[in-house]
């Protein structure tokens, strides 16, 4: 029931879960052997940035538009091209429909 069998391989989520549980047990064991001097709610848990005053919470969180900035910068050309057809204008959407329809009719009639 749990094993997915197909032509050339099998997938068993139960085996995967068992492996995960074993790994989790090993991690917990290693953790239990670590330092025991940690004290919650003391200066030990304060944020330390080389002595700089820690900014307030809303300034410490990186906003979504900065995440993967380098990826988007590198692909600027791709995204500029992609943004162009996304006009938000319904007339353009319908034009796309007609264009794709014409191409499909031609492909089917000429190929088959």
């Amino acid at each position: 029931m749990s094993v997915l069998t197909y032509g050339y391989a099998v997938w068993s989520p139960i085996v995967w879960l068992v492996v995960l549980l074993v790994l989790a047990a090993i991690v917990l064991y290693v953790r239990s052997r670590g330092q025991k001097r940690y004290k919650k709610g003391t200066a030990q848990t304060d944020i330390f940035i080389s002595g700089i005053q820690v900014p307030p919470a809303e300034q410490r969180h990186v906003p979504a538009h900065n995440i993967y900035w380098g990826f988007f910068e590198a692909l600027k050309g791709f995204y500029n091209t992609m943004m162009r057809p996304h006009t938000g204008i319904i007339n353009d959407y319908i034009l796309w429909l007609v264009a794709v329809m014409v191409v499909t009719v031609l492909v089917l009639v000429m190929v088959i």
Partner: protein, 522 residues
Amino acid sequence: MEYLTVHSPILIVAVPLLAAFITPLISRIGNKFRDTVNVSLLSFVTFLIVILTIDIYANGTRVYTLGASVPELALPENYMVPVRIMFQVDGISIFMGLTTTVVALAALVYSLQFVKNETGQDRFYSLFMLLYVGMIGLEFTGDMFNLFVFLEILSIAGAGLASYRVNMADAVEGGFKYIIISAVSALFVLFAIGILYSEYNLLSIAALAHSMQFTTLDLIALALLAIAFVMKLAGVPLHMWAPDTYAVAPAGITPMIYTSSAASMYALYRVTFTLYGGHFDTTAIGWVVIILGVLSMFIGVMMAIHQTDIKRLMAYHAISQSGYMLLGVGVGLAVLTDPVALANYGRDAMNGGIFHIINNALYKGMLFLTAEAIFFRIGTRDLNKMGGLGHNMKWTTIFFIIGALAISGIPPFNGFASKLLIYESVFRFNPLLSIIAMFVSLVTLASFTKVFYSAFTGPEMPAFKEVREVPRSMLIGMGIMVACIIFFSIFPGLVVDTIVAPATDALIDQASYINGVMGAVP
């Protein structure tokens, strides 16, 4: 029980239709009474779907003819072709019906609290039930004209629901765009049906498939039908309406509209496999579907990762995930006339594509609900303004993590099982397609990591200190979907063997569908 099984195809359509029309009346008694009636009726329909599913997997296709002395009698006396309105429910129809019903039940329960303080609730629930009727009717119908009728019902109800929050200008715009693209697509569908009717004097799908001559007009009708359905399912490059509509639809409705897109995908499969398949080389149309699938996967995910509006991001992912379904089933379609390739990998590719439909309806639907849960509590969809919500919305965070891991294809979740089937079988067809599919999964994971980091992690924001977890009915709605995701993740073999493989076989076996209606007619 036998009576219920025999009449379940019509009851599954008629009960929610009745609920849609009595909702404004019973609202006068009280909102709680109306909600109880609607949830009870949809639960009853779920029960009917389950008994019909068991019946179909045990006994094969069920035909229900309206007005016949015996519902199973498809051909009237002295007639060679079916002329009555008919439902024909086979493996793929009931698979889609099951998917639609699970999503509808979860969405209805979720909506109870979400629209509690909104005006026009009776219209909301009426349209909700009509949307369900449109989807389930489209999935069960055995004739082309009623396919058009149900497509119209789901389009009109969907547009009304998308623009339900009329106080938001973009909601009205989203609903307007949805009705325009739906109306134009439906006109193309009607035009194609007109072409087929003028040629064959038939509307029954089985009878049309039986008589198909593959003239140039038939091919034009195929292109009209296929591309109209691709528009409705938001396949690239006809996807641009979807983010505009999905982003603004109320909670509970976005998963429903998304599932209605899956119903359009079903219609595409029904037309390409059942109506046209089996008689001509489907390689060309298979490749058209594959190319649309790859474009949808790649452009959908690349646009998604760029978004900062959480629902627009998820809408682009919905487009991307549709690409997997098109890819898997497209490969099956491309090798449909090659029995060796079909047996070696085509059927597995189709299993993967179809398994992905139900998986995606569950986790994508649930992710839409988590996005709306955030909007419900903080009043914005802008990821730039979010942060630290995991401190106060623990259940929503857990549900989001499960959905995000599942959609990214991380083992052991159900998304991994369906994607694995697609990767391995598509690799045998064309390795490049499989590599693109894996790359898309990586970007999907990166994209949801961005959402998780932006919305849920980080320090507790002063602006959101008072934010609390969403009400219980909304959690139950998400919980229903999470329960299904976990079940599907742990028992992929059971799901594929019992509901996915029969759905695939129903698509491949065109003769069985035709014989279900035409019997021994030569």
